[in-house]
């Protein structure tokens, strides 16, 4: 029983991070209609930004996450302008393979610039934990979860209440109508893409204290992120939050029942099943 409770706690904590990392992917799809296969690479970029901020400026990755957010936002906005915008109306083949090409460029660009070595940070809290009864709560996991929750809340408020956020949602719902009422949809797309990849980079930075960064780390998250957004419904940011926690808990529970080796297999099967049965997401209808 305690085992399951422990797995639940671990799953929720990890899932919170999955949620924020994936909400960026969902945002990009929701507002631009583009599935970004390169999205997980921005997690890697965010981790590198946070690592350099730590190594050269002595900034803790939890704060460095803000730097990662800003830097990658600008980077993403630039990529949107040069690469993504020209293919917004192109056939899906073009969209898919442009972002696949971008994936190769980002991963191997990082390899060219930084080498293949694993890098990690050392922080005072990274080997600490809290004990509640028999349950162990890892401090770096908890901090990453709290940071994710905070930024998730801010994102929600931004989309809900700010002028820009409302304009973005309008663009998502009906680009034509949005244009008619005077919304600069081009600009909205650029902000959405920048924000989407920025959030993912932010997520990468907050998990750096308990992980290592290397050019291929994004590959570990590709299917995971897609599973999260598909579970929550492609394009739904709120769905990504629920999907993230769900995936975290599924992973933690599956480790109790199946060999850890099959962890990803379980994930893939959930993914295929959801796409086959409810491609619109488990939550569609319940939330937007």
């Amino acid at each position: 029983m305690l085992q399951w409770l422990q797995a639940l706690v671990d799953g929720v904590l990890v899932g919170g991070v999955y949620a924020i990392v994936s909400s960026g992917l969902s945002l990009v799809f929701g507002i631009m209609g583009v599935v970004n296969f390169a999205h997980a690479e921005f997690l890697m970029v965010g981790m590198f930004v946070a690592w350099f901020a730590w190594a050269y400026l002595g900034i803790d990755p939890l704060l460095g996450s803000l730097i990662a957010l800003v830097v990658v936002f600008l980077f993403g906005a630039g990529i949107q302008r040069t690469l993504i915008r020209p293919i917004l109306k192109a056939p899906q083949v073009a969209q898919i393979f442009l972002t696949v090409g971008l994936l190769f460029c980002l991963e191997n660009g990082a390899l060219l610039l930084f080498g293949a070595n694993y890098r990690s940070v050392s922080t005072p809290y990274q080997t600490e934990s809290l004990r509640l009864g028999g349950i162990i709560v890892s401090l770096p996991y908890l901090l990453a979860f709290l940071m994710s929750g905070l930024s998730g809340g801010l994102l929600w408020a931004f989309l809900r209440f700010s002028r820009t956020g409302r304009a973005m949602r309008a663009t998502a719902l009906d680009p034509m109508a949005a244009k008619l009422v005077g919304i600069d949809t081009d600009r909205m797309h650029q902000i959405a893409f920048g924000l989407g990849v920025g959030l993912t980079a932010f997520g990468g930075a907050v998990i750096l204290p308990y992980l290592t960064v290397y050019p291929a780390v994004g590959a570990q998250y590709v299917v995971l992120m897609f599973t999260v957004v598909v579970l929550g419904g492609l394009g739904s940011v709120a769905g990504a939050a629920v999907g993230g926690i769900a995936v975290g808990v599924i992973q933690a529970f599956s480790a109790l029942v199946f060999p850890v080796q099959l962890q990803n297999l379980v994930l893939f099967l959930v993914f295929i099943a959801v796409l086959a049965l409810r491609p619109q997401g488990l939550l569609k209808g319940a939330s937007a």
């Binding site: 393979f97 442009l98 492609l234 893939f268």
Partner: protein
Amino acid sequence: MTEAVASPRAAALRPGRAVLIAAVLAVALAVPLGLDPQGYPIRVLTLTLLFAAMGQAWNIVGGLANQISLGHAGFFGIGAYASTILLRDFGLSPWLGMLAGMALAALAAAALAVPTFRLKGHYFALVTLAFGEVMRVIANSWSSVTGGPVGLSVPFAPDSLWMFQFGAARPYYYICLGALVAVTLVFWRIKAGALGYRLRAIKENADAAEVIGVDTFRAKLQAGLISATLTAGLGTVYAQFSYFFDPDTIFGVATISVRMALIAIVGGVGLTFGPIVGAFFIIPVEEFANAALAGRAAGLSAFVYGAVLIAVILLKPEGLLALFAALGKRWRERRR
């Protein structure tokens, strides 16, 4: 994406073109005679032919049925594993093993069609991506049968056509050439035939096609089965040619699935000669990059790979063939 170049008459074989094809084939048959049968150039040419055939097999779903698969490595690996396991455990000729692998791949494709038949575009690409990964994890974990992550070696045997094994690359060259011709003929038959018309109708407008009585599920399933079966067959060829493979290579997203698609796209999606042109561009460039850079700049060749993909899509989404056609037209016009 392709209709601008491939007019509906494209399939009709004009006499001029027939002569050209015969000439190219004759050259292809003659080239190995001038090369060291165990050498490096013939090995690269053989790999090029093999990848051209793989791109062509992908082209059946990706080009004709407009279903963007990112998981063809799944079928490729099924072919390689099936024939090699049967050879290892029962001494079965890889040619028979190839048939078994093709049958298995057809089953897998049929099973995959159940969850994917309603899916389009991104969703289809995502599910196929996951399918390829599922196959990789299975091969990796099911060690007692697949040899696990250590990979599988094709048992050493003396030169023999029946056992599909040769010390030199030259016989493999001809086998791969034969495979390429066969897959291309299949592609061409489908494109020119009734199935091709149905697929084109679905591609243009699926709902309209349904209304005029095209069984869209059936048409897509047929294309998917043929493509998967051919891909599995090529997987066996690959296993016999490289003598060794492991799950990460044979089920690789970048090394197999994306490369198959890339070859078709670079050459010209949906065009009969697209994958051939694509392979003769991509594979030598990769080899050249590896030979020239020799690790002095790790990752550069893969980076260039991605950049080429982006460049093709931004500049000439119809592929190299269309580029050549445009250049040729301009050149001729200037000469007039």
